[in-house]
């Protein structure tokens, strides 16, 4: 009878067996260790919530008193009227540069490495090279932009120079995440396509890429979010950390070659201002930055969980 109840409640049976094995003593050391490990995890996560709570509470007065005006207003030395309008435009244009330059090159490079190159010496060299590039600090890419785009190619301290620099910075990450997504597509898919007479490019565009698309998209979206918050390389290529006037009549070509700023650079320059009023303003700019980045991240993670496929 007792045996049957124990079998009906497996957890009870398990704890009975465990108690028997440990001759009834509780494993205090083990429990303490589990608690300490759990605390390290909770501490790491709690920091995120403290950070968010702190920034949002500091930013609240700005949004309640200024409302949407803050999002459109240009930068200013007067904290009463300063806003992030130019910074938002700058960040959007920089992201477009990254999409147009880094994504096509990055994705095709990954297709080459995974689908075309095989295990050739050249492919292995490119592979190592890309992994090393991904580990180079962002500020070094800023130096590259300063030397190559700003000075040698004569683009000046412009949106073009900033966009090219960011595109080059994220390129290795795009290649690595895309290659991972391609590798997850099982070989049988390719073999089936070859079996009915498809050529290599038809296998890739018709079969491998569609199956890998959710993975590629997730990686790409996370990469774009990272580029959105990147600051150091933009400062190296001369994103404006002070105030500038953008002429509403200027043509698009002129604007691309003109001075620029971006949301993270704005945060940097305001964070360094000594006046207390700028503290709230900085927090408000951070909120705008974080809302974009966290929303994009959460979306990408949901996308990945939804399409996560076990072959």
């Amino acid at each position: 009878m007792t045996a049957q109840t124990a079998a009906n409640r497996p957890s009870a049976a398990r704890s009975a067996v465990e108690a028997g094995l440990h001759s009834g003593r509780r494993d205090w050391t083990g429990m303490a260790a589990a608690l300490v490990l759990l605390l390290t995890l909770i501490a790491s996560l709690a920091i995120l919530f403290v950070l968010l709570a702190d920034v949002f509470s500091r930013a609240l007065p700005v949004f309640t008193s200024r409302g949407l005006d803050f999002l459109g207003a240009p930068s200013s030395l007067n904290p009463e009227i300063a806003g992030v309008g130019q910074a938002i435009v700058g960040s959007i244009v920089l992201t477009i540069f990254v999409i147009v330059i880094a994504l096509p090159i990055g994705i095709t490079a990954a297709v080459y490495l995974e689908e075309y190159a095989g295990d050739s010496r050249f492919a292995r060299f490119v592979n190592t090279n890309i992994r090393n590039l991904a580990g180079v600090p962002a500020i070094v890419y800023g130096l590259l932009g300063l030397a190559v785009f700003v000075t040698t190619l004569g683009a000046g301290r412009s949106l073009i120079a900033g966009g090219m620099t960011l595109a080059i910075l994220v390129l290795p990450i795009v290649v690595i995440t895309t290659a991972e997504a391609l590798r997850a597509v099982p070989l049988t898919i390719r073999e089936a396509a070859y079996g009915v007479g498809a050529t290599r490019s038809e296998v890739v565009t018709g079969h491998v890429l569609p199956y890998a698309m959710p993975g590629i998209l997730t990686g790409v979206v996370l990469t774009l979010a990272r580029a959105f918050g990147e600051t150091a390389p933009l400062i190296m290529v001369g994103a404006i950390t002070g105030v500038f006037r953008s002429d509403p009549q200027a043509s698009i070509a002129d604007r691309l070659q003109g001075p620029f700023t971006a949301l993270p650079t704005m945060v940097f320059s305001w964070a360094k201002q000594p006046q207390e009023e700028f503290r709230a303003l900085t927090a408000a700019a951070i909120v705008v930055l974080l809302v974009v980045i966290l929303a994009v991240n959460a979306g990408a993670i949901l996308l990945r969980n939804r399409y996560d496929r076990r072959w």
Partner: protein, 314 residues
């Protein structure tokens, strides 16, 4: 085709399997285009090395070696003390690793060995979101929260800007990175090892610490080196929170304001309009960049070697 097959299997010749001329040309074009874009990475590496080395050489040729071991880093006064910026970098990365090593590895062990599947699936994405917070935000957090509450408690009466505050923020930044890479390494240890250990009567703690962690040690070391490399290259936190961006005397006291290689570079770049041409300040930017590039490259190589050891074993 069908007519040929009807006569028997031997009538299908190899020529019938060849693709047409148009498709063959298309294949060749696509292959070439794709190969060209793969060489872009080589072009980028070459450009990095060339742009750094050219200007850095310029600096080395003109600088007096005595200037490189001066009392402090004040580029506008022609004092380029490399030990000063190296010391600042080491102090800040050291403080960061002091925070991130226990937190990151503890969190990794909990996630991989203790947490139930559901807990793991909820908490790991939160950790990834934490990793997505831009460093400029953590820099602001360092001066508004870490400096008054944490550093102010340990060392009352200190300044707002200190290497300790920046170091703690750097630690927060690299914790999720270390946790995530270390967790991958722990998770890759085959469960047969755990089962063998349980079978011998070991409890969960003994299994984790004596069996799983040693088996994954290469991956854990790789995670730590990756963390150090990220901490050394971290720029915005230091530029905002460590103070002394314009220059500093040699110091290794974490409660002093200090300067790192990266902070020295941002300071030079934001002020380079004034200094360009006038002195060695502008080329010194590239010399420091080359130094940083070399250090992180070596660290990444070492980390890579450790990762490869894990992969070979299982």
């Amino acid at each position: 085709m069908t007519a040929v097959v009807r006569h028997g299997p031997t009538a299908l010749r190899v020529d019938d399997l060849r693709i047409g001329r148009r498709r063959r040309v298309r294949e060749a074009v696509i292959r070439t285009a794709i190969t060209v874009s793969a060489t872009a990475s080589i072009l980028i590496s070459t450009l990095i090395v060339l742009s750094l080395i050219g200007n850095a050489l310029n600096f080395v040729q003109q600088v007096d070696p005595a200037q490189l071991v001066d009392e402090g880093w004040f580029p506008r006064r022609d004092m380029f003390s490399i030990p000063t910026i190296l010391a600042g970098t080491l102090v800040i990365s050291g403080v960061g690793m002091l925070i991130a090593t226990p937190l990151g590895i503890g969190a990794a062990i909990y996630l991989s060995e203790y947490a139930s599947d559901r807990v793991r699936k909820t908490l790991k994405p939160i950790l990834e979101v934490l990793a997505a917070v831009p460093s400029v935000v953590l820099g602001y957090f360092a001066i508004t929260v870490i400096s008054p509450t944490v550093v102010g408690t340990i060392h009352p009466g200190g300044q707002v800007f200190s290497m300790a505050a920046a170091g703690i923020a750097v630690g927060i930044l690299i914790t999720p990175l270390i946790a995530s890479v270390a967790e991958d390494a722990l998770h890759a240890v085959p469960s047969a090892l755990r089962e063998a250990s349980y079978g011998l009567g070991a409890r969960r703690l003994a299994t984790s610490v004596r069996v799983v962690v040693p088996a994954a040690i290469s991956g854990i070391v790789a995670a730590l080196i990756l963390g150090i490399s990220r901490a050394i290259g971290e720029t915005m936190i230091v530029a905002i929170a460590a103070g002394a961006a314009g220059g500093s005397l040699f110091t290794i006291n974490p409660f002093d304001p200090g300067i790192t290689m990266t902070a020295a570079m941002t300071a030079l770049a934001t002020g380079s309009d004034q200094v360009r041409g006038a002195s060695l300040a502008f080329p010194s930017l590239f010399f420091v960049g080359l130094l940083l590039f070399a250090i992180t490259l070596v660290l990444n190589f070492i980390s890579d070697a450790f990762v490869r050891r894990v992969r070979q074993r299982y």
